[in-house]
Symmetry: C2
Subunit: 345 residues, 2 copies
């Protein structure tokens, strides 16, 4: 029994003009004299007219909707940070008068899920799509780019980019350099790392940054102290347990691929009766919402996710509105937050 709103036809009749003129007013055409415009606007206000979105899109307008695809390698959803990203995109898009259609993708290998994403583009439900948590140069995303879709992606290398692709990265090399420098200044010489997911570009750049910084400060890269991980709390727990089990000498400090990994690492150390920072100094990455309250509060690199999503959203919406397709990319620096998980030795 949904009462349908008034349509342009009715507005035209009420205002004593044609449907064409109503449309011109709605779309802010310049060739409408103020008197006519006012007359039409009055009716629009009075009857609360709002154009049917489907009809507009079918007639060629943008959908004013962007897709947000969160690829959940087991740690995106339910994770505070991803939710922060989600909220940031929604809010910034909303400020610019655009809507956000979100999809959570549990497994980027799932054909069904990938088809769901493609469909959103080809059904013309969205004008463009933002991807978070994807592997570097994830094939199905590259395909969408090839097909001319407008794509925004967090965490992707800058090679082989093309029009319609907007890439957002954090300056992880610099972040890792700050971390190593900080530890070096505190007297640490034996420094290890738990790596992130090396399929992700950020996993690669963080590790590359770590290696470069270690060389810069003339510190030894010991393979027993370079542990694989996956950006998850669990991976930090497992990595440290394995290191402790190995019986090899321990580093005095370690850098974690992100704060979740650090939480897991601390959990592992504590379960063995070791204390952070007494027995080992730890640095995280992200400044996770929990990090300040954690015991010990976590020294970490603050990553400005909100700003990243704001810029990415804005760049995408600009391309939608201008109907242009260009390549764009930007990178954001991270800031070292000194808290209590590191000590000078």
């Amino acid at each position: 029994v949904k009462r349908k709103g008034i349509d342009a036809e009715a507005v035209a009749r009420l205002a004593g003009v044609s449907r064409s003129t109503v449309s011109r007013v709605v779309n802010n055409y310049s060739n409408v004299p103020p008197a006519t415009r006012d007359k039409v606007m009055a009716v629009i206000k009075q009857y609360n007219y709002v154009p049917n979105a489907s009809a507009q899109v079918l007639a060629g307008k943008r959908t004013r909707t962007i897709g947000l695809f969160m690829i959940d390698a087991g740690h995106v959803t339910g994770d505070l940070l991803s939710n922060l990203l989600l909220a940031a995109v929604i809010e910034h898009a909303s400020e610019l008068g655009h809507y956000v259609l979100t999809r959570i993708i549990r497994d980027a290998q799932d054909e069904e899920a990938i088809r769901g994403v493609r469909d959103m583009f080809y059904q013309r439900r969205i004008d463009g799509g933002i991807f978070i948590g994807a592997a570097n140069r994830e094939p199905f995303i590259e395909d969408l780019l090839d097909e001319g879709c407008l794509i925004g992606v967090v965490d992707r290398e800058l090679s082989e980019i093309r029009a319609g692709c907007i890439v957002a990265n954090f300056d992880n090399e610099d972040g890792m350099r700050q971390a190593v420098e900080h530890l070096h200044q505190m007297g640490h010489r034996k420094i290890g790392i738990v790596k992130g997911d090396m399929n992700r570009y950020s996993g690669q750049t963080k590790f590359a940054g770590f290696q470069a910084a270690m060389r810069e400060f003339r510190l030894e890269l010991r393979s027993e102290w370079i542990l694989p991980g996956s950006f998850s709390e669990e991976s930090g727990y497992l990595a440290l347990n394995k290191l402790l089990d190995s019986g090899s000498e321990l580093p005095t400090a370690m850098i974690m691929a992100n704060d979740s990994v650090a939480f897991g690492a601390i959990r592992a150390l504590e379960s063995r009766g070791l204390n952070v920072p007494r027995d080992m100094s730890l640095i995280g990455f992200d400044d996770h919402p929990l990090s300040a309250r954690f015991q010990p509060s976590l020294t970490t690199l603050k990553v400005d996710f909100n700003r990243m999503m704001e810029q990415l959203t804005a760049l995408m919406i600009r391309q939608i509105e201008e109907q242009e397709r260009s390549f764009a990319s930007f990178s954001i620096r991270n800031e070292l937050l000194r808290r209590n998980s590191c000590r000078a030795i």
Copy 2:
């Protein structure tokens, strides 16, 4: 340069049938012989045909999109729980083949924001909308109901409901009863409360449940121990500080409107050198993601938000698909989680 997909016309030509038949296949009409169906499906698969959503909607189909409106009284966004709700709705809708368009509403008094919500309905962008965090019987939501919109709402009293309204509540009275009973069993007789936002239905039912339980256990309701709050961490901090400043006798235990309030209360107590549970026992409500890790881990009522959103989403989608409009409501019980913020006296 977006390559447009193939359209139904082309599929028809390729399959040697009419557009009508293609449409019948796509919409799974029964009166299509298997041979014809297979022929058409083959073309659809081969060319990756997917119907233009706008055209379908314009021709009368549902949008298969629901709106999710999160009213943020300063503590919804950025809050772990609200994000959990968001993710739950997106996932469950997605499983049922529906999309979710989200809007965050910072201020329910903001005319602009309200118009944005109305527009989503009248532009026919959504088939129905779910509201989280609204005041009980929020006027603009009641208006939408009056106008025949399909609405799902968390936290609303059951009076004056009508078709097209789906209401989800938690059994807060029972939850409060469990809390009071637990404290009573532990020997507490002097019990206070920090109330939630009394404009919210849950604020009302929690307080009503508290009062009823206190009477049932023949405990005194002392007005100095009934403190106003607003479901926020800050409100818990302020409430406890005020109580401590008042110089009046302290209760031995207090029940908090939710866990965030409890976090704030604990912060206030600790800032005065008081310890939970040594100096005061505290019970929260929600089982916030942080509660288990908090110091002290928080005794609380576990609220199954995921199940609530799953049911609400499913009920809404059923009404959309069946094209029916009925009233529906359900309530979910909460479970007491005994942790370390309460002690026997």
